[in-house]
Symmetry: C2
Subunit: 553 residues, 2 copies
């Protein structure tokens, strides 16, 4: 879309929206605000924004001292810790690009990301050494590794080299750093998507993108210095859904969850209650488990005023209602993706709807994805690209445009079809908008399986199955799962001559290209797979036939 | 300051932060939100954002139809009305620059602004025709006048020509307009300062400036669709201190105060209470009068949650305390200027200070100008430009930089000294910052007394003198001194009943708060102190009258 120049107000065009300017504010006004971080042993580390800022400066000096330059891409494979927070500012603040590496990716995909982005250094947690070691043989251009550990350096055994130690570097570096005045369109971070077919695709967020989204987030969540943000969403997952940056903008207290899984949720829930958390985010499965833990508590915590962002998939009414009834915390449904920088819609009410709708209607409304946040443009189009009315019925593909929405993938000309000529990102999701602006996702344009907030491509898995010599036909569908939202189910027609092939054989074959968590929950050998009239796998029929397969077990 | 380019994230550089993108959001999600406007006869006009948006589009079409083009400057001399709100978007949205004209300027100054900015059309309220008629003979380049009136056109008598009528134009125009994708650095509006000596100076705000400040404002006031904004600050005064734009960003309800003066405050206070206003702004004198009206009410209104921004000068503790005690509304002290786009500091508390300070200390803290809003840089420098520590004592000139802070005046090369080489605006105010980031204004730089390389605040000394029971009026000015550069001279009008008070009495009183070297070289008892037309101490006259007082001795 052509940009029209008006009367040029050249009176302020130089100020750059970069994240160091954002952090400087927190330091000037809120240097005493607390930051908490959960250690590996479950204890809590505490320091202040002021302490963090000194270490960010030490980090910037350290990175320069080992040869990292403005524009370099640096891989980061780290849990939700205070060091990760320091990296969020110290690394892009000195001009390098923070490439957040998803530690759940399969080695080939991880290596692809490292090579495609041109990473030269990797910062990693000590307990993730093996993951990095496994991809190094597949990578070119890696010059060094910075390990974060509390252990004695001599205890660390690794084939990686050269190795630097994070704390060691920081200790030797000066706590004063003269930040460069970075152009706001410089890349701040890169996240790679894994949702659809083919190779991961790189989304490069600029400082401006990140800055603008942080301010939007602070405004939409009425964030202030009185808020306590619990960072549970992995910080390698779309920048932890923006919260560390938005919290810094308003000087809010931050709590980092450390390395955790579902077994740690009782501990995390206790931290939540004890530290009086007011803002957090997670996928429905996590909040569901937390609700169960809260229900077991003798004394129900009062979480009045807490806003819990629930994304990844649709939160059940029982979850939202349960949290409200037990704790007075509000679950706010949100929709997004890597290309959209996570927070795209928020399901919040309007005063007139609260008057007009019954309580039941309001709870049903809360199931929708919500209204799109200020600053973004949205439209629903039919397959010819014609915009559909906002009538709550007309369903089409969801297109989004805005100051932090990707307009192209990095170095991937073959992906141009994911974007319109007027700069909209085609989400691949189908949905409708009602007259009040609430978005409802009705279907997935692409057959993607959403498992615990992560995506698994059914098409990729089918292709892999078909490459096994025993397989004649294969289909993979996402089936509702009580814990993970969806899990893949594979259906296979074996060739006559290979009828003795076992589930284990298939699983082993898939393991070569898929991470363990991506493997199908179950594999069924069938005589026939239903197909549509044009011969395509009829996934609709399969989904209906097997809809209770994982829930009934 | 040199801008450093990092790894270019050219993946989203096209989205423009212009106000039409901001308004489109309000329309998509909050089209039913109400807008209220006080008519000349005191009745209230009501419509919705949706209605307003149709009229904004009609306005844009109208302006084009009479020949206004992208980049043209259009003067606006209109009260706080819904039409003014339509102009805030319709006029800059089509690419012209809205030059807000201060209807209280002297004709020569108004004509200077019109000529300097190159205005070709003026939009005006019918009751302001005489002001415009008086300046037309002094102006070149005026091509037409658009009059807003509810009267019959035949009743309008004017020498202006050609005349168009706002409602007439809108009625004939289409309610659909294809907004240009305006470059964010295009000028949105121009405001001219009148604060200091010499000609008014033009500050041109770009769309980006205005957009970013609106979002910051929404974030800092936790604004939402549930808020009710009462626009009392004149909309020609630094864009009404941002509120119409911030309100649109979050879809908040807006109330426009119409044409009002202090005599209308009872009516405005009633609107305030009846419409359940949650955010407003004014100078202390206005809130003081409103508080008196509230005190007379039989039933005290409950304004819990209301945030009242008080700027222009320091609000007395009695005012802040009075509002809190009577209504539970919070007065928030703010500091700013045209060059800073009004809202620069806000006096809000931090949780740790609320724990550490006594109630009395907190009330005293509220007198300071507050902490600078997120996104702006501030520093305090001595006369050599060296930054001073944030110790709550070291006073120097306040410099500010940020995404909406002016870096130069329009077409005024002689004003370059108002800005530093690194892009800071020199406010001309003296102040200090404490370790928590709270700013305290101590004086205007030109009113500061420079004695032997040290500064003495004339305002502090005047306040101290005024606290002496014998003193009715007091002024302190810096007078040239052969040895110390400048020394203070105090002028005092004594109360009738204390005419026997001596210089020594006064000196002793001052000694309680001032160091010996700061005490005035001389104290004069006078019958009268000259004042300006608006009642301020006329220090210019005093400085001239007493310029040789210390050198001739």
């Amino acid at each position: 879309m052509k940009i029209i120049k008006g009367f040029q107000a050249d009176l302020n065009v130089n100020y750059q929206l970069n994240v160091i300017n954002l952090m400087k504010h927190a330091i000037r006004n809120y240097s005493r605000q607390e930051i908490v971080s959960r250690n590996l042993d479950g204890t809590l580390f505490r320091y202040t924004y002021s302490d963090a800022y000194k270490r960010m400066q030490r980090l910037a000096n350290s990175l320069e001292s080992i040869g990292i330059k403005v524009g370099d891409r640096v891989g980061v494979i780290v849990w939700n810790t205070y060091q990760h927070f320091e990296i969020y500012f110290g690394l892009p603040g000195m001009g390098a690009v923070m490439v957040t590496l998803n530690l759940r990716l399969a080695p080939q995909d991880l290596a692809y990301v490292i090579n495609h982005s041109g990473i030269n250094y990797i910062i990693l947690d000590e307990d993730l050494i093996q993951i990095v070691e496994s991809v190094v043989p597949l990578c070119e251009g890696l010059k060094g590794f910075i390990i974060i550990t509390e252990k004695d350096q001599k205890e660390i055994k690794s084939t990686l080299k050269p190795i630097y130690f994070y704390e060691d570097l920081l200790e030797k570096a000066s706590p004063n750093y003269d930040w460069p005045n970075l152009d706001e369109n410089s890349a701040y971070a890169a996240c790679y998507t894994t949702g659809t077919t083919g190779r991961p695709k790189g989304v490069y967020y600029s400082h401006r993108n990140v800055y603008l989204q942080a301010v939007m987030f602070a405004a939409h969540f009425s964030m202030s210095v009185n808020d306590v943000i619990f960072q549970m969403v992995p910080m390698y997952h779309v920048l932890g859904w923006s919260k560390p940056l938005a919290a810094s903008y308003m000087g809010a207290k931050l709590i980092f969850s450390g390395n955790w899984n579902l077994n740690d949720l009782e501990e995390l829930t206790n931290i939540f209650v004890k530290e009086k958390v007011t803002v957090s985010a997670a996928v429905p499965a996590v909040f569901m488990a937390m609700l169960e833990i809260i229900r077991m508590m003798k004394e129900k915590p009062d979480l009045t005023g807490a806003r819990l962002i629930c994304g990844g998939s649709e939160p059940p009414i029982a979850l939202m209602r349960g949290f409200w009834d037990e704790t007075r915390a509000e679950i706010i449904h949100s929709y997004g993706s890597t290309e959209l920088m996570a927070i795209t819609t928020l399901n919040t009410f309007k005063p007139w709807l609260e008057k007009e709708l019954s309580e039941e209607e309001l709870w049903n409304l809360k199931k929708k994805q919500g209204i799109i946040v200020s600053g973004l443009d949205i439209k629903i189009v039919n397959k010819n690209g014609i915009e559909l009315p906002h009538d709550g019925k007309s369903s089409g593909e969801i297109l989004v445009k805005g100051p932090w929405v990707t307009e192209s993938y990095y170095n991937a000309p073959q992906t141009r079809e994911s974007f319109t000529e007027t700069g909209y990102f085609k989400t691949g999701d189908a949905g409708c908008l009602d007259s009040e602006g609430y978005l409802k996702i009705t279907d997935r344009i692409k057959d993607v399986i959403k498992s615990g907030g992560e995506w698994i491509s059914s098409i990729d898995m089918e292709n892999s199955l078909m490459s096994h010599p025993s397989v004649l036909e294969a289909a993979v569908v996402g089936i509702s799962h009580p814990k993970w939202d969806e899990r893949p189910l594979a259906l296979i027609v074996l060739r006559e001559e290979y009828k003795t092939t076992t589930k284990e054989d298939i699983r082993e074959h898939l393991s070569q290209t898929f991470a363990k968590w991506q493997l199908p929950e179950d594999i069924l050998f069938v005589d026939k797979i239903p197909r549509t009239s044009v011969g395509k796998l009829d996934k609709k029929v399969l989904r209906i036939e097997y809809q209770d397969f994982y829930t009934m077990k």
